[in-house]
Symmetry: C2
Subunit: 287 residues, 2 copies
Amino acid sequence: MNQQTIETKCVAIIGMGLIGGSLAIRLREKGISSEIIGVDADKDHAAKAIELGLADRMLSLQDAVRLSDVVIFAIPVDSMVHLLPVVLDMAEHQIVVDLGSTKAQLADAVKAHPKRGRYVASHPMWGTEYSGPEAAVSGAFEKKAVILCDLSDSDADAAEWTRQMFGAIGMHLIEMDAVSHDLHAAYVSHISHITSFALANTVLEKEKEDDAIFELASAGFESTVRLAKSNPAMWVPIFRQNRENVLDVLNEHISQLRKFKSCLEKENWEYLAELIEGANKIRRILK
Amino acid sequence: MNQQTIETKCVAIIGMGLIGGSLAIRLREKGISSEIIGVDADKDHAAKAIELGLADRMLSLQDAVRLSDVVIFAIPVDSMVHLLPVVLDMAEHQIVVDLGSTKAQLADAVKAHPKRGRYVASHPMWGTEYSGPEAAVSGAFEKKAVILCDLSDSDADAAEWTRQMFGAIGMHLIEMDAVSHDLHAAYVSHISHITSFALANTVLEKEKEDDAIFELASAGFESTVRLAKSNPAMWVPIFRQNRENVLDVLNEHISQLRKFKSCLEKENWEYLAELIEGANKIRRILK
């Protein structure tokens, strides 16, 4: 699985923002794309994608699908649910890949589609808190995991090319079904965003009476709060589609926080130390 | 306030861990110390501090104070409350600085001390999730804030040298009283650690039934959870000394999280978008 063995293709990317733009850079870096055709409903983003050299040309959705070998979706998950069946209607030989953060509703939306086999469901576990074409960076995705869902529902050639493409850009592949994906993503990605949004709101609330508070922001604060810059247009649809899992994890998280609260209220310092030692076990996983 | 104007001194550092060790490197880099004398109750840490060249020599507390011009405390805040008055008893011309994360109890512990003037209370807003001498790094503290507390209670020469020292290692100085410090630190540092510990425990709890979950950990997850590696020996005393402020902020944080929970339960996506847009205002502060 490296760039030598992968067939170069003309790739259309729908959504030239952070994810789509960063993938465009990466595909070109690795010599995987013969051409990048961009599609973006936002005229400013479309112009910016050309200006920054992310896409070779910007076309309408229909023309982009018609002229490409691979169509990659990098738009918010609510738009994707509507647009993916439309693109599959148009597809003939094309491989259609999505990079969305939720998978179950998308899987449902196309499960009876006659061209379901052309579609490969993926979720590369990479992103930043920024959005738009200017947020695209080189070297993205490297050494991160990508989850491929329900691969047995994809045609063999589509699954194989997509596997090779993610391997060639330096990702390690994990396969699971769409329902499991959404549960896991709630734990290792979606909840982090909620805690970060809530932490930002906690401190911004305080700032109303004390405008000097942020002068003090430490490196630790920046690290836990940076995700709070993330875009609602991307995140509301994710929370909406993964509502039940996110609610379960959020309830568990609030009950974990209540344990810390109870230790402080009862001045139970031994148990507080135990809770922290328990949390330290994360060292085993995060190097 | 740069290294040209600062008088070189023999500096004793009590506690050669992450903070003490990193400061030792920085003082030497900037030519501020004529000699670094280390003090550490942990024999392994003491040996490591010599091996890594953090200290020129390791001495007993008494000898270190006697032979130095400046004594800097970099030990957990509970030990500091006991040891600071002892060191002030021994001090003659020495400047005594602490780098602890809480300030009010320490201020109380020495407020009636006859040599209170020799002491300067500081909190450099820098750290990492690691601990011990091996965790010490070069370039620490650069461009971060340092809070100096109750400076009018310090002798002019002690306050001035400490100001110059922090300026010379690249920090910007903020002055406030010890009680205000503890309130602010609860918001911009202590709560981040609690959310991170609780988030780690939330996901580790899930891992008991699903050991593959961490393969998926995204960059966002790492960023919000990395503080959960932090040492209980440092953090329990901080939470203990700053109990009331941390409880207030934690209650506010839980109520912010409940707003997200309520949006998800009631499928109120408009309000969810508003909460996220509110959190996005953090962009103004964190670049």
